[in-house]
Symmetry: C2
Subunit: 114 residues, 2 copies
């Protein structure tokens, strides 16, 4: 997965667990791609301070993912729902029973992993 | 939802964010239904200490749910996957197009909410 997409997903899932200050810096630098200097000037803190907070948040987000694995679970789930959607969309009177079996299997595996 | 089921779900989702000490007490008292006195004796801490930790963990879990809403999202998702499973299971050559439409709609709404 592209690094930016992964960071955005991690932030999407765990951003609410950060402080408002951390969210502000991380959004500016990582998601909105402002330079460290710009953000430092805007918030009236040192460039080193901005840099440290970004690194700290990267670590926090990675730590949350290690424990809760929401991004991984989300991507698995998304793939499975996509497979159900595709399977049903290709359903005809001829393969109906097979489609039912496949959908039941995928649904069960989603339920088990939740 | 029954209070015990809700606590068990919250613990299942957010337990990894607690300390090992908190998990031990919470599992013993809330999930395995040992008495406060038993747990206090076993861990060599006061009954008040056990009581306070349980209350503290209840608050922490509620706080995580307020921010991340994983239990709510999980229950919504479970209901939707169940609806897909049921819809497909009742599919016949006659209502095939309708089933495809319904499954596409529910899948889309799952994807949007993830």
């Amino acid at each position: 997965m592209e690094a930016f997409v992964e960071k955005a997903l991690l932030y999407d899932f765990y951003g609410e667990l950060l402080t408002e200050h951390q969210r502000e810096i991380y959004e500016d630098v990582v998601l909105n791609d402002y330079s460290i200097s710009e953000v430092a000037a805007e918030l009236g803190i040192s460039r080193q301070g901005v840099h440290d907070q970004v690194k700290r948040v990267d670590k926090l987000l990675a730590g949350y993912e290690e424990r809760l694995m929401l991004v991984k679970r989300f991507l698995d789930l998304k793939a499975k729902v996509g497979r159900i959607r595709e399977t049903v969309s290709g359903c005809t009177a001829d393969n109906l029973e097979e489609v039912k079996k496949t959908v039941a299997e995928i649904s069960d595996s989603i339920m088990e992993e939740l």
